[in-house]
């Protein structure tokens, strides 16, 4: 009887009871156990069940079960089946099941991960992870040897978050590869990886990764509680987790970051964030995340601080451009013509002479067109990809202007808006303003700049009211904590940031020693001279 039937769940009042069935202990009879197992998993062609019986009339009877494709066939053959079949002792008729169990468990499996199990459910869950089950006739215990070895994608350059300078490897779909990448970056005993299995049907492995002492205990407890609270049958991607655990259901703004980059996760962990790696997707989550986290790219720390600061300011600028430019264009050209320089006004007016649509309709049309093109670009098969750029350039370009559908200025506005949107390093927040943009355009067309300002006020109030796992979304700007502003709008030199940012609420707030500013030999000499008179650390943030 399939226990987790969808129908059964729908009709029951308390879903929890049906989803977690009472465990079924292993039967002492191998036949019965095998029957139970085959009843549960059906006659799937990839499940290999192999009986192993002593030739003599001994009572020792074993069975191997593994799933072809989830296991490495060589490992199964060489480290499980071969030793067991060839071992002399097992062939002797004197051996009992008890002894054979102990012998196999302690001496004959040259494999690191060997587990014992007593229930059918436990054994099955191991089976689906690529273990080879060894069942014994006459025992209510069974062994499972870790022989997993399935096909996985090799580590590649992250496709969604590229850098010019910096590590070029990204997470893969394998959870284990992900955690190993973090281990390689954080060789500290403080790195903790807690594993969850979420989703009754997918049984997806979810790893909670954090640095003990740096991550806040309160945040950790909250994330654990929320993860524990997830009752669903499937987790296929990190967004499933994100939607289940993120704060403030009704907000367009993301409160959890996602990244494909192990270095970004490591950086986040070092600043007190908690990482969540999900099996089956290369996108890991980072929480708690503030608004400003979404504007930090890991490359900010891989290049000089001056250019990083400049780029970061550009990103904030691009954020506002991407959100506001079409709305401002509409507002200024339909309400506040006096704000434009005369020459610009006249040339805009000249362009609008032949345009049939009002500015709002024109803008909406073009923005929607761009979104259609963008979606097409994502969904289109690679091979016909170039076609879209040609067609797109026609639709969103000079051809549209020549056809008298839109004004040239609108094409520029839409294009610049679109380009600005791609400047923002996090797709999550870039997407959130894609929707807000349309709302703003409608408001701008009805209320002008006043409407835009009012909406921005409301938006600001909304943002200020958001929390990400207890951390105010706009911190450290609202509430203002000046000493944590070093890595928000600009990035100061690394040696000038001895403290971790505010999101880390753990105990270990200092991350590097004082006086890390590189000193020239002359500086050192001067300092030596001065230290005779007074001892004072030099220009260091003592916060």
């Amino acid at each position: 009887m399939p226990v987790h039937s969808k129908q059964g769940r729908k009709h029951t009042k308390d879903p929890v009871e049906t989803v977690i069935p009472a465990p079924c202990p292993l039967s002492p009879s191998l036949d019965e156990t095998l029957q139970e197992i085959s009843l549960r998993i059906g006659t799937s062609s990839d499940v290999i069940i192999r009986r192993f019986t002593n030739e003599s009339l001994s009572s020792l009877s074993l069975a191997f079960i593994y799933i072809d494709g989830l296991v490495n066939a060589d490992t199964v053959n060489q480290t499980v089946i071969q030793p067991l079949m060839e071992h002399v002792t097992l062939k002797s008729d004197a051996i009992t099941a008890d002894k054979a169990y102990a012998l196999i468990k302690d001496q004959m499996l040259p494999i690191g991960g060997v587990q014992e199990g007593k229930t059918v459910e436990h054994m099955l869950s191991l089976l689906f992870e690529g273990y080879t089950l060894i069942l014994f006739n006459g025992l209510t215990m069974a062994l499972a040897a870790d022989t997993s070895g399935y096909e996985k994608r090799s580590v590649n350059e992250p496709t969604s978050q590229g850098v010019i300078r910096g590590p070029k490897e990204g997470f893969t779909e394998s959870l284990r590869v992900g955690t190993s990448m973090l281990r390689r970056r954080l060789k500290t005993s403080d790195l903790r990886i807690e594993e969850y299995k979420i989703g009754q049907r997918t049984g997806t492995g979810v790893a909670l990764v954090y640095l003990q002492g740096i991550a806040s205990e309160a945040v950790l407890a909250e994330i654990r509680r929320r993860l524990d609270g997830i009752i669903t049958d499937s987790i296929l991607e990190s967004n499933y987790i994100e939607e289940f655990i993120q704060d403030g259901g009704l907000t367009p703004f993301p409160t959890i970051q996602n990244t494909e980059r192990p270095d970004a996760v490591a950086g986040g962990l070092l600043e007190g964030q908690v990482g969540i790696i999900i099996d089956g997707t290369p996108f890991a989550l980072l929480a708690p995340s503030t608004f400003f986290n979404f504007f930090q790219s890991s490359e900010d720390y891989y290049q000089r601080y001056d250019i990083s600061s400049f780029l970061r300011l550009i990103r904030y600028g691009a954020f506002f451009v991407s959100m506001l430019l079409p709305a401002l264009y509409i507002a200024v050209t339909t309400f506040h013509q006096e704000m434009l320089p005369t020459t610009l006004l006249i040339s805009l007016a000249a362009q609008r002479e032949g345009v049939p649509l009002p500015a709002l309709a024109e803008a909406l049309l073009m923005e929607l067109t761009f979104d259609v093109l963008r979606e097409a670009g994502v969904r289109m098969p690679r091979t016909i990809g170039p076609a879209i750029s040609i067609v797109g350039a026609l639709v969103l370009g000079q051809a549209a202007v020549s056809a008298g559908l839109v004004s040239a200025a609108m094409v520029i506005v839409v294009s610049f808006t679109a380009i600005s949107n791609f400047v923002i390093p996090s797709l999550a927040i870039a997407n959130s303003i894609r929707l807000i943009r349309f709302l703003l355009m409608l408001i701008a067309a009805t209320l002008g700049l006043f409407g835009i300002m009012s909406f921005l006020m409301v938006l600001l109030i909304h943002l200020a009211g958001l929390y990400s796992f207890g951390v105010p979304y706009l911190s450290p700007v609202a509430p203002m904590i000046p000493r944590y502003l070093k890595d928000i709008f600009i990035r100061v030199p690394l040696w000038n940031m001895p403290m971790r940012p505010k999101t880390s609420l753990g105990k270990e707030t200092r991350r590097q020693g004082p006086d890390q500013k590189p000193q020239s030999i002359e500086d050192q000499k001067k300092k030596a001279q001065l230290s005779g008179q007074q001892k004072k650390p030099q220009g260091e943030d003592q916060a």
């Binding site: 006096e338 007016a349 000249a350």
Partner: protein, 431 residues
């Protein structure tokens, strides 16, 4: 679905930081009431108008005819490429860059409204650059115009105001070369003039209003005129290199109260610029040997100039102590002076000073004759001697006091550099 709801709701138990009381209904409504207050930050018109519904007015002119206001508006014709843009908007070169409407009305606004009887577009004044007042109108009085400009929402107080002898509306018909937007072109002209030549001050409408409402009660306005008799108002006519008739700045009109009472010549206007400290940069032609000849044979660019005016009460009248200090570069020299000789430089300085002094005196004589205090002396006196000013104000005797004013100009000019050569070419040649 039920399951999901259970799983999503955890934020209610969040460890929220303390000190965030929930908004009460009153607070919320208070906040909502505050939002409309933001509208005060945004002035300007409050209608949704598409750009192609607007008649962008670049200049206006007002005349007084048959006891009626006659208003002329210059409206940009965007499709002619008036901004000088090329490409997609196309626009033929034969269509005029702007068109003009002339309308009459008992009030100015009535006239403006009448434009809608003939125009396809709503007049939009925010981008007006100039306004030209006809002489007849200026003699009739300009208070109503100023009031309209200050009161009307989309009228700009920053327009430059000009006077025109004869009909002001004719000025707006004239096409300009190089600049298609004529209003903006005239603005450029006056701005450039006051920056480089300093004969006439560019007067914006608010400056005019301020001057007329100040203690002096007088103001000056530059005249804009046509150099020829024909109005060049066809696009084909301006396709020549040397226009027979161009727009130019002429004299300087003097207004007292709200009325035009007289004109100052260009020279007198220049002298007035010295008195009122309006000089930015100016070229002065002067005789290098004042003793041998009076014809100017040298030029000097005045680069810095400052004027301080100090009123002194001398028994029964005011004496205005005017100190003009300036410095600049010698740019032209027709005589054979030896510039290495300090004495010859000081000789030239004295000559320039003499020249400026004449300008100032000449100007003052005319201003005093007109009896309009365009020099701003009233303000100076009010500031330096409030008691006596009160007395003057009470007895309303300013006109008499003004007529009795004696000026004592002191000019000190310094030639800082003599350009790239030390000797004049004349002296080189004579050797």
């Amino acid at each position: 679905m039920k399951q999901r709801k259970q799983a999503i709701q955890p934020e209610s138990n969040l460890p929220l930081p303390a000190g965030r009381p929930p908004l009460t209904a009153r607070k919320t409504s208070c906040l909502l009431l505050c939002l409309p207050l933001l509208s005060t930050l945004i002035t300007g018109c409050w209608d949704n108008r598409e750009l192609n519904e607007l008649g962008i007015t670049s200049g206006s002119a007002y005349d007084w005819e048959d006891n009626q206001w006659k208003a002329t508006y210059q409206v940009i014709n965007p499709s002619s490429g008036a901004s000088g843009m090329g490409g997609s908007a196309g626009g033929s070169t034969t269509s005029p860059p702007f068109i003009t409407f002339t309308v009459k009305g008992k009030t100015i606004m009535e006239a403006i409204d009448k434009t809608n009887l003939t125009s396809t577009r709503e007049m939009f004044f925010s981008h007006s650059r100039i306004t030209v007042l006809g002489e007849a109108m200026a003699r009739h009085g300009i208070n109503q115009i100023i009031d309209m400009f200050l009161r009307k929402q989309d009228a700009r107080e920053t327009v430059f105001v000009f006077l025109a002898k004869g009909e002001a509306g004719a000025i707006l018909d004239q096409l300009m070369q190089m600049t298609k937007n004529q209003g903006a072109g005239i603005q450029l002209m006056i701005e450039q003039e006051s920056r480089l030549v300093s004969y006439y001050p560019g007067v914006r409408l608010y400056e005019l209003a301020m001057a007329l409402s100040s203690e002096s009660g007088s103001a000056v306005l530059p005249e804009i005129r046509l150099t020829g008799h024909k109005i060049m108002d066809e696009t084909t006519e301006v396709a020549v290199t040397d226009l027979p008739s161009r727009l130019a700045l002429g004299k300087l009109g003097v207004l007292k109260g709200e009325k035009l009472i007289g004109w100052l010549t260009q020279k007198q206007a220049f002298g007035l610029s010295f008195i009122t400290d309006k000089i930015n940069k100016a070229t002065i032609a002067f005789p290098s040997h004042p003793k041998t000849g009076e014809t100017p044979d040298a030029s000097f660019i005045l680069q810095n100039s400052s004027t301080s005016v100090r009123p002194i009460w001398d028994k029964d009248h005011y004496v205005m102590d005017i100190h003009i200090k300036g410095s600049g570069v010698l740019t032209e020299l027709g005589s054979d002076m030896d510039l290495n000789d300090r004495a010859s430089i000081s000789g030239m300085e004295a000559s320039i000073e003499q020249h400026v002094l004449e300008l100032v005196n000449n100007s003052w004589t005319e201003v005093r004759k007109l009896g309009a205090d365009v020099t701003g002396f009233a303000v100076r006196i009010h500031r330096s001697d409030r008691k006596r000013w009160k007395q003057i104000e009470q007895t309303k005797s300013w006109d008499n006091v003004f007529r009795d004013i004696e000026i004592r100009p002191h000019v000190s000019i310094k030639i800082e550099r003599t350009g790239l050569s030390n000797k004049s070419f004349k002296s080189v040649q004579q050797k």
